[in-house]
Amino acid sequence: MIDPTILRLTVRQLLGQRRSIVMVLFALLPVLLAVLYALENDSSDAQEWTAKVALGGLVIGLVLPFTALVFGTAALGQEFEDGTAVYLLAKPIPRATIVFSKLVVAWAATTAVVVVSAALTGAIGLSGEPGEGIIAGFVAAAVVGSLVYCAAFLWLSIATSRALIVGLLYVFIWQGVVVSLFSGVRYFSISQYALGIAKAFITAPDEIFDPRLNVAPAVLFAVLVTVGATWLSVRALQRWEIGEAT
């Protein structure tokens, strides 16, 4: 199901460059903001700020999708762009194994970055206030959200040559504008799944953190999208055709 050689290749591809350093610095931005916040403010509304603004808004709303977009589209997309994909595809390996191996690496890289960001931001933002499961909830949201996003963006990178732009349109237009205007489409927002899952761990009252999806539909849709996108990826890779060299 998973090929160790592809894992190793992909890890070196994704992490061997400046890209990973930039992503880590980016993930530390919310942490920096939390430090500044903790220094400047008394702790009266630290819980709400940490849950809603820093973790819910910045980490899950921005750092998670952006990191997943970078790693998820690069894991296989960069091979297509560089013309190295043929070396993987001209091997007697089931296409599902290639997809799973690529997905695992993209997920692990995204999770590592986002979980550290979420945990540190939460710990510093709360700074001694009762946590009420906020950190655990957002770490879980980061882990699950990374998987769903990476699966979706991996499929985009096989299905279109402009996966990065299509992904950005999804994150910033669909999730950022359409979902906030029309509440009914919240079932089609991966960030909302992540927030819904976070709520399962959080015992704080609704004034502190109240996502728009309940836990059950969030989990259900997260599973559906992950499985669906992965299935589509395998199918698209089976039918992948070499393009004219660009």
Binding site: R19, F26, L29, L33, L36, Y37, E40, N41, W49, V53, A54, G57, L58, G61, L62, F66, V70, T73, A74, G77, Q78, E81, S161, R162, L164, I165, V166, L168, L169, F172, I173, G176, V177
Partner: protein, 295 residues
């Protein structure tokens, strides 16, 4: 041509001729590059798949204007959701994504395909190349920053019962609308090309432009509202914020209650200065990049 004979050496006159006509020169070359780049920004003259993304984003940028016109036509022309100074707030995200998608194409293609040397070995100079690209991209962006508002003005005028009244009420906004639209287009072009021209890789360029527009924005918001103090200067790092401030200044409108601009507390004219500074710095970076890049 004589039939090839392997035993003797021959040089055949294939009829190549030197060009003896008039050479149109540098100015013409700049203009040609300008129009070629402008068309390319919307994928015109390229294959269909390169047209989809720019056209979809451009359509999204027109949606708020169309929605406003629909409301004015169907419900009431008293409902003014979109004010001339506020239109940017509705289209800032599509404009940013347009820059993120297209700016890497404007500057990156020639670097990736190693065609820069073909340009620089002609009458065109390196500075001309940079400025023609910049001008073309800025022109392309005015379609997004200005045309929806033009549509809105015309549409609103036609929807009212009192056309002359509408004109006399609104003509004062026209110069401001044009000034703001042009300024925003030039700023976005200069800023995103300055970033995108630094790398031939499309993905890196896109991520860089997105970072400048879309990642700085929520971070600046937090710095201004939750941190304050020195953090207030973050508005000058977030294009959405200082562009909006500049637009308010152009129209002579004050910052709204609880807006970033009010919370930051700077005079609105400072945003205008910031926009000019960014345009200057961005253009200088683009020119510098193409002066140094190996062709």
């Amino acid at each position: 041509m004589q039939p090839a004979d392997a035993r003797t050496g021959n040089i055949y006159d294939l009829g190549y001729r030197n060009y003896t006509g008039k050479r149109l020169g540098r100015r013409h070359a700049v203009l040609a590059l300008y129009f070629y780049t402008l068309r390319g920004a919307f994928g015109l003259g390229r294959r269909t798949s390169s047209k989809i993304i720019p056209i979809v984003i451009a359509v999204i940028a027109f949606l708020p204007a169309v929605a406003q016109l629909a409301i004015a036509a169907l419900v009431s022309d008293e409902v003014d959701i979109i004010t001339p100074e506020g239109y940017f707030g509705f289209v800032e995200v599509p404009i940013a994504l347009f820059c993120a998608a297209i700016a890497p194409e404007i500057t990156g293609r020639d670097m990736r395909q190693r065609t820069l040397s073909l340009y620089f070995s002609r009458a065109l100079q390196r500075r001309d190349y940079a400025l023609a690209k910049l001008a073309a991209f800025a022109t392309a962006l005015t379609l997004l920053t200005l045309m929806p508002q033009v549509l809105l003005v015309f549409g609103n005028g036609l929807a009212t019962n009192d056309v002359t009244g509408y004109i006399s009420d609104n003509w004062a906004d026209v110069p401001g609308t044009f000034a703001a639209g042009l300024l925003i287009a030039v700023l976005c072009a200069a800023g995103s090309l300055a970033i995108a021209s630094q790398t031939p890789r499309r993905a890196y360029a896109t991520v860089g432009v997105v970072a400048w527009f879309l990642i700085s924005f929520p971070i600046a918001n937090i710095l201004v509202f939750a941190i304050g103090g020195v953090g207030r200067y973050a508005v000058f790092a977030s294009p959405f914020d200082f562009i909006y401030g500049c637009t308010l200044w152009i129209f002579g409108v004050g910052a709204e209650f609880e807006s970033v601009q009010e919370e930051a507390g700077f005079g609105l004219w400072t945003y205008f200065v910031a926009v000019l500074a960014y345009i200057g710095a961005g253009a200088a970076l683009v020119v510098r990049r193409f002066a140094r890049v190996s062709a």
